[in-house]
Each structure stands twice: as structure tokens, then as C-alpha cells.
Amino acid sequence: MPATAAIEVSELVKRYPGVVALDGVSLRVEQGEFFGLLGPNGAGKTTLISIVAGLSRATSGRAAVMGHDVVADYRAARSRIGVVPQELVFDPFFTVRETLQFQSGYFGLRENDGWIDEVMAHLDLTAKADANMRTLSGGMKRRVLVAQALVHRPPVIILDEPTAGVDVELRQGLWAFIRRLNREGHTIVLTTHYLEEAQQLCARIGMLKSGRLIALDRTQALLQRLADVQVTLRLRGELPATLRAQASEQGDGRVTLRVASAAEVEGVLAACREAGAAIEEVEVGHADLEDVFMQLMASDREGAGA
């Protein structure tokens, strides 16, 4: 029997009047994973997270956290999950420490100051412990949101766009801390618009489009779906007809060609020379998650993943 999934959703449907936000999503995130949930705005990422966190109710289907149904067994489910919401929300009446103490109390932890101090230290909040939430900068408020999600040491942590509008230094610090939590055994689920971050951090990725899961695979496997190497050229002259099928315009006068391996780059250059097109600029690179993402989003639904 497989171990209990950190998060398991099956046939999840969420309909709002006139909109299908989730159209039958099934997904399993294993314990200890660093999982990325990607998709364009309106794809259903936040809806999915909200249902798992109990903030929203599914029209049909079920969701469970560490084996506990989020509706029938909501106390057990909610006490095992920490959510960093996308919106920069705060309660203007309280200080950072009060905010974290109240959050602990809501989870039944009355004497939690040791852990609160530790979390604040890791997030560089100690100096602001007694500052009112209103007086904090956006980045500091974001850190408090992360701290609030961690006060009850949840085994499952969901971060919904945690680095939106956050400066580079905080982003690096935040990821170092989240990676550490992951190493210590916490399951991390991340949504982000920064695909570079997802590629670096997440071992497995699910992609949502219009409420459906269109890809679900290890990050490496997703990257390998696209031809491995791409050559970007600026030519004086026409691209040979034999290469046009594998080329895409960059919009700045350059064309990008996908080839299976580095060995084929030579053939592309030779074909151009033979056709009389002078090569003014060459750039060789690997496909990244953004390329995969763009291709999957552009393609039809047939690509639904493994």
C-alpha cells in the first residue's frame, strides 16, 4: 500500500455561475515532494489551493490532506496544512508578534513562543517583532504571511505566488528557508509566475489550463519533451526551405530552430551557408520550462500528461 499522500484530489470540479474553474482535476502530491503548480491566470491554481485549504468548497469531487478529507475531517486536514495566500493581507490592529501568537492559538498552540521566535529569526523579522503590521513594507508583510503559515509546523505547506513583488534578496532568503523546510521533510506546493524558480526548485510539476490538468510530470521529463537544443540565428538572406518546418520567428528578426542534439547544430549552419544566407549571430541554448509552458499552453488539450 502506498504511503498516505500529502495532498490527494480526485475528480475535483468547481463551478461558479457561468464559469468552470476546475473541470475534473485529479492529482496526488507525495509526502516530502517539492511540487510546482503552474498555469496562466485564471487556470484554476488558486481555486485548487483554496479547496485543499478549506477556503472554498468543491462542486464535486474530493480533496484530502495527509489522508484527511478537507470537509468531513476538516480539523485534522487544516491542522496539517499551512497556506501562504497570494494576496498581501494583514490585520492592521496588531503587531507581528501578536499576529503570530493569535495564529498559533487558532491552531490550539497556546505556548508557542520558542518556535515563533525561531521562525521570525529565519525570516529576518525579529527586529520588527513589536512593530505594527501597518508600518511594514510589502516584503516584510510577505514574510509575516510565510511565518503565519508555519506557526503550527504543518507537514504540508502551500505557497501561492509567494515571491510576487518581492525583491531579489528576500526571494533568495525565502527559497533557502523553504528548501530547508523541504529537506526536513515538509511537503511544499508552490505556484509561481516565475517559471525559472519553478524549474530550479520543483522536482515535479503540474500544469493547469482552463481548469484542467494538461501536464503532470517530473520537471526533467517535461523539459525533455521539447527537443533538447535550440539554435537562434540572425541571417542576412532567407532561411533555407528545408529548415522552415522546425523554425519559429522571434519577432526581432531572429529565428529559433529546435534540434535533437548539439551534433545537429553543425548541419543547420551548413544548410544556411549552402543556401547563401550569411549568419550574423548565433546563440545555442537549451529549452527551458518557459518554452515547455508556452508550447503546452498553445497546444490543444490532447497533451494531457502522464
Binding site: R57, S79, R80, D91, F94, G108
Partner: protein
């Protein structure tokens, strides 16, 4: 912490530290969730007590000064009771009711609009705990403001305390009823102006027309009958009975009506919360 699933690993300073790599036992939030939410709600209004306590006390005193001064020599509502003495319990109860309503309704709508309600929706707090915490905080504010108004106005015309238990019973049940109504208004409203409409077009007229400033016995029969349909009338009337042992309706009837109204409102509020109406989309 100890138990299955908790792994102890030393941190850099060599101290053992619990991490949750597996499914560790979780504390039962139970009443701690309720107590924390109540404490948060009380601290919320207490931190701005100048606005939430001192201001309504001043308003109550102004009413007393103006109406008491103008009407003291012209109106005698109950035999042997001066108008100012008659007015004081009415003003105290009006303050209790309006502030209990204001507390739960404004706290909830602020949290909804600013989005920080998410902090109490994510934890394992039950519908009942949520309900009780908001209502208990509303009762606290209502009673604190009422006590403040009483403490300041009582010197103008010390009233009798003929049946003090009734005073407490109506103060708390009235604050509770309005706390529940405030909760409902906060749940239903999406914007501040909707809540303001509820406050200005329902709560204000109902409290003003409940006999705070007059005895309904002095009204024409039609308006007397209308007044008897207003549950707030029974709150003011029963509360005043505690001071003078004289009232328009029997305090037992008043209590029965207030409790019935509170039970009905609570059923509505609990059902909305259980369904997640406008809170868990």
C-alpha cells in the same frame, strides 16, 4: 513534542529540535481556537477604545444633557420617576445594543474586505467556535460601553435598582441578540455601504423607536401596537424594569421574546456559517 512521526534532529547549536517529517500528532484546537479568536476580537476593539468605547460614552452623555435638560420638567413617564432618571437606563441599553451590533458587524466586514478573514478560515476553528467568539466579543464591547455610559450618567439622577438581576439579564441577552444580528449583517454585506444601510435603516430606527426616550404608553394606539412588534422595545422595557420595577410589558414576556429572537437569529447565523455563505466561496 513527542510521538510517532516526529523526528528529532539536532540543529546547528546541537539542540534537539522537533520537525514534522511525518504525520505528527496535532494538538486539538478545540476551545483554544475559540478563546484565541475571542481574545483577538476583544483586543481589536480595545486597541482603538477611544473610538469604540469613549466615543459612544460621550454620545450617550450628550443625549442625556440635551434631552434631559429640555424634557426634565415637562415629562413624567412613570409616577415618581423624573425624566432624566427614566432616560438613563434607555440610553445605557441603546449604547449596549448599538455597540454590540457594531462590533461583530464591523470586525467581520473589515476582515472580509481587507482579506485577513483568511487567517481565521484556514485554522481548524469550528462554525460554533467562530460564532461564539464573535458574539462573546460583541457582548463584551456592548456591556463595557453600557457600563461606561451608566458610570458617567448615573450622577445626574441616581436611579433605583429595584430588580438588579433583570438589569443584567437584559443587558447580556440584548448584547447577545445584537451581536448575532451584527454577525449576520457582516456576513451578508459585501461592502461598507451595505453594512451602513443595515445600521442606519434597521438598527438605528429600531433602537430609537423602541422607547429609549419615551414610554410607548404615551403613544397613539396604532404606534403602540407597532412598537410591540419591535423586539428592541422589549429589551429596553425589560432593562428599565430592573431599575424601576415598572414597565409597559411583563419582564417575563420581554425575556421570552428576546430569547426567541436571539434563538432565531442564531439559527440563521449558524446556518450561514456552516454553509460558508459569502465566506467560503
Amino acid at each position: 513534542m513527542s510521538g510517532a512521526g516526529v523526528t528529532e534532529r539536532p540543529d546547528r547549536r546541537g539542540k534537539p529540535r522537533a520537525t514534522l517529517s511525518e504525520d505528527a500528532p496535532r494538538p486539538a484546537a478545540g476551545s483554544a481556537g475559540f478563546r484565541t479568536l475571542l481574545a483577538k476580537e476583544v483586543l481589536r476593539f480595545w486597541k482603538v477604545s477611544f473610538q469604540t468605547v469613549a466615543a459612544p460614552v460621550l454620545t450617550g452623555v450628550l443625549y442625556l444633557l440635551v434631552f434631559g435638560h429640555v424634557l426634565e420638567d415637562r415629562v413624567q413617564v412613570f409616577p415618581g420617576v423624573g425624566y432624566t432618571a427614566f432616560l438613563i437606563p434607555g440610553l445605557v441599553m441603546m449604547s449596549v445594543l448599538q455597540n454590540a451590533f457594531a462590533n461583530s458587524s464591523s470586525s467581520l466586514i473589515q476582515s472580509k474586505i481587507t482579506g485577513n478573514l483568511v487567517f481565521v478560515l484556514l485554522p481548524p476553528i469550528s462554525t460554533r467556535e467562530f460564532f461564539l467568539a464573535y458574539v462573546a466579543a460583541a457582548v463584551t464591547r456592548g456591556v463595557v460601553v453600557g457600563a461606561g455610559v451608566f458610570a458617567v450618567t448615573v450622577w445626574f439622577a441616581p436611579p433605583a435598582f429595584k430588580a438588579p438581576l433583570w438589569i443584567l439579564v437584559f443587558a447580556f441577552s440584548g448584547a447577545g441578540l445584537l451581536g448575532v444580528l451584527g454577525l449576520i449583517a457582516g456576513i451578508v454585506s459585501d461592502k461598507f455601504d451595505q453594512l451602513a444601510a443595515f445600521q442606519n435603516f434597521v438598527i438605528m430606527p429600531a433602537t430609537f423607536l423602541s422607547g429609549v426616550f419615551y414610554s410607548v404608553h404615551g403613544l397613539p394606539p396604532f404606534w403602540q401596537a407597532v412598537s410591540h412588534l419591535n423586539p428592541f422595545f422589549y429589551l429596553i422595557d425589560g432593562f428599565r424594569y430592573g431599575f424601576f420595577a415598572v414597565s409597559d410589558a411583563s419582564p417575563w414576556l420581554s425575556l421570552a421574546i428576546v430569547l426567541a429572537a436571539a434563538a432565531a437569529a442564531s439559527a440563521v447565523a449558524l446556518s450561514m456559517l456552516a454553509r460558508g455563505y459569502k465566506i467560503r466561496s
